[in-house]
């Protein structure tokens, strides 16, 4: 996946809002920011336009307003981020990541069950 999908923390913050909204104008995005987060209208507008240049979102002009739509889905971004993480943090080996999750994280019995089920169903798919 290309480098351009890398997001800065603010960009990620705004993308989260857009993913949740599906689409939106600058005002829509600002309205969804937490009350203690102060970002100026011009800043949000600039960040959204940088995202547009990175081809992560597209813009449609309706009247005087620009409506921004995500091109990159959250799943794709998650996959890309995870791949980058596995590559850089876990020496490119996903087993290392799972081992870390199982050993280091405080998983409840219920969560372990759910992971087990996921693994079982994946096993079946591969066997067929």
């Amino acid at each position: 996946m290309p480098e351009k999908y890398q997001l800065t923390p603010v960009e990620h913050e705004l993308m989260e809002i857009l993913w949740k909204l599906g689409q939106g104008t600058v005002r829509d995005v600002i309205a969804c920011l937490p009350p203690n987060r102060h970002l100026a209208y011009t800043s949000v507008s600039t960040i959204l336009r940088i995202l547009q240049q990175k081809k992560i979102i597209t813009a449609e002009k309706i009247g005087k307003q620009h409506i921004y739509l995500p091109v990159l889905s959250k799943e794709k971004y998650a996959a890309h981020s995870l791949n980058t993480m596995v590559k850089h943090v876990f020496s490119g080996n996903s087993v290392n990541l799972v081992a870390y999750l199982v050993n280091q994280q405080d998983l409840s019995l219920e969560e372990i069950d759910r992971i087990q089920k996921l693994l079982d169903s994946r096993k079946k798919e591969l066997a067929e």
Binding site: Q6, T8, V10, E11, L39, A40, T42, S43, T46, I47, R49, I50, Q53, K54
Partner: protein
């Protein structure tokens, strides 16, 4: 003129200009009264003015000096650089000469070549570095996102850098703003204003100019001081302008500077930028913040004019002292009279600055080809000098007769076939005279080409001419045109002054000119022999 500009002499001038302008500009701005009255922006402008004007003055002072209505007659005042560049340009080097005399050592230590090599290596390295920076900034630009364009100024947002900076290239200006600053609206606004002020002041263009000078004068410590000082002045001027122009509160601005410095400490990516400006270094930060609270709001144009005038006078005087005359400038009669007075010439030839002598010296001096011919002759003279000098001293003859072979042959042992009267050797003795003086001249042997024998003969002949005419100048004339002809001329002109012999009715206009030319050449050669710097390259 172009050959003069591209000489070693002007290279030295440029370096001196850098040094002198730095010392004067710093000194003048350090004067308490001026320092207290002038704003930072004017200090910056003044410093640049000093640098620019001194470069111009040092390069063109030789030409400016000729425009001066009163030509200086006092030649005790001698510009330093002619001598320095002359000495440096000579390939001889004392150390290498001493080394070459010991046989086991390498023949000649190429010290001059070594210096040129180091200089060329430095030039190449810095050029490479400059191109590398330009390419880096081009690549960097592609990774940024442009949001605003004001005329030819682009505002670029970047994820890579953590500090704002700006640069100019090919008529366009660029301001790189870290995307992280988008979260701090106030800091972002101040950062852009600050960088825009840099561009408005022309800092980015000056940086290119300074870098180009640095390519050639990188070894000059004063250039380094200049760049550091200009860098500081640029930042002060920027800071002050922003506070004065936009009514920004000094404390908010100081906070912004501190924030930027904090980011800068985390990333040293651009701190050594070659042509990009990012004025946040740890030592400068304190002074910049301090300045923010002591800025001047009053404008004192009188102080400013005084500072400019002092700067101009001081720098132009220094330029005149160090580089006041050019070897390609014609000398005046007054100049030459002063030179003759100071060069302690012997009275034997009663040399005066006649218009013919002045013209002859200027002919050699102002023509590069003539200069090099004369210099080569003087160089060859060194080889023959010991023998001839010993002979002259032995017979108590004036040593200035050394100038005679200079005009006869340029100290080249020319063969008889070279001229129509069959004269040969460095003394250009004709066959009849040679035979009468006891030299052997035949198909197999020509004693005139033997320096020792021909010198002995020539001196003997000159001595006999002196015995006949009782005047060394007339002896020299007789050496050229023959004793009988000289005798006639003396009788017909009724004068024993060599310069008046031409008044003889017998001489044709052409012969008169020839005689005057010969006398002028002899006198000029004697003067040049005593003052070789008159025709230094």
């Amino acid at each position: 003129m172009s050959s003069h500009i591209l000489s070693l002499h002007s290279y030295l001038s440029v370096n001196a200009a850098i040094m002198v302008s730095y010392l004067f500009a710093r000194f003048i701005l350090h004067l308490p009264y001026i320092n207290a009255q002038i704003s930072q922006l004017h200090k910056l402008k003044f410093a640049r003015y000093c640098l620019a004007i001194s470069l111009a003055l040092f390069l063109f002072m030789p030409y400016l000096a000729t425009l001066h209505p009163i030509q200086k007659a006092n030649l005790e005042f001698r510009p330093v650089f002619h001598h320095t560049s002359h000495i440096l340009a000579q390939s001889k080097d004392v150390v290498s000469e001493q080394l070459s005399s010991t046989e086991n050592m390498p023949a000649k230590l190429p010290l001059k070549k070594l210096i040129v090599f180091v200089w060329a290596a430095g030039l190449l390295l810095l050029t490479f570095n400059y191109i590398k920076t330009v390419l880096f900034l081009r690549a960097f630009k592609k990774k940024t996102f442009c949001q605003h364009k004001i005329h030819n100024t682009y505002i670029l947002y970047t994820d890579v850098s953590t500090v704002p900076f700006c640069w100019s290239f090919a008529g366009s200006n660029y301001i790189a703003v870290p995307a992280a600053l988008l979260e701090q609206q106030d800091d972002k606004r101040l950062a852009i204003r600050h960088e825009l002020q840099h561009i408005r002041q022309g800092d980015t263009s000056w940086l290119h100019f300074m870098q180009i000078i640095r390519l050639f004068c990188f070894w000059n410590p004063f250039l380094k001081s200049w760049m550091k000082w200009l860098g500081e002045l640029q930042e002060y001027a920027c800071d002050e302008e922003i506070i004065l122009r936009r009514k920004t509160s000094p404390s908010a601005y100081a906070q912004c500077l501190v924030n930027a410095a904090r980011h800068n400490a985390a990333s040293e990516l651009f701190s050594n930028g070659v042509i990009a400006i990012n004025g946040i270094s740890k030592s400068l930060l304190y002074r910049r913040v301090n300045m923010l609270f002591t800025y001047r709001t009053r404008k004192r144009s009188l102080t400013l004019i005084a500072a400019y005038a002092i700067g101009f006078c001081a720098i132009s005087s220094a330029a005149l002292a160090l580089n006041g005359t050019s070897h390609s400038n014609p000398l005046t009669t007054k100049d030459l009279t002063a030179i003759i007075k100071h060069s302690d010439l012997q009275a034997s030839f009663h040399i005066k600055a006649t218009p013919e002598v002045v013209a002859e010296i200027n002919r050699i001096r102002t023509n590069a080809k003539e200069r090099s011919i004369m210099n080569a002759a003087l160089e060859r003279m060194k080889q023959y000098k010991p023998v001839i000098q010993a002979g002259l001293r032995n017979d108590a003859m004036p040593e200035d007769l050394l100038a005679l072979p200079l005009i006869e042959s340029g100290y080249r042992p020319l063969p008889a076939s070279e001229n129509r009267v069959q004269a040969a050797g460095i003394w250009q003795i004709i066959p009849e005279t040679a035979t009468s003086l006891g030299l052997v001249v035949n198909n197999k042997r020509d004693d005139r080409l033997n320096t020792e024998l021909s010198t002995k003969a020539a001196l003997k002949y000159l001595n006999s001419l002196y015995a006949q005419f009782h005047d060394w100048k007339l002896a020299v004339v007789a050496y050229e045109i023959g004793e009988k002809e000289t005798e006639h001329l003396i009788n017909e002109s009724g004068s024993r002054d060599a310069w008046k012999l031409e008044q003889s009715y017998r001489l044709s206009a052409n012969d008169k000119n020839e005689l005057k030319k010969y006398l002028a050449m002899f006198d000029a050669s004697v003067i040049i022999m005593h003052n070789p710097e008159l025709i230094s390259e």
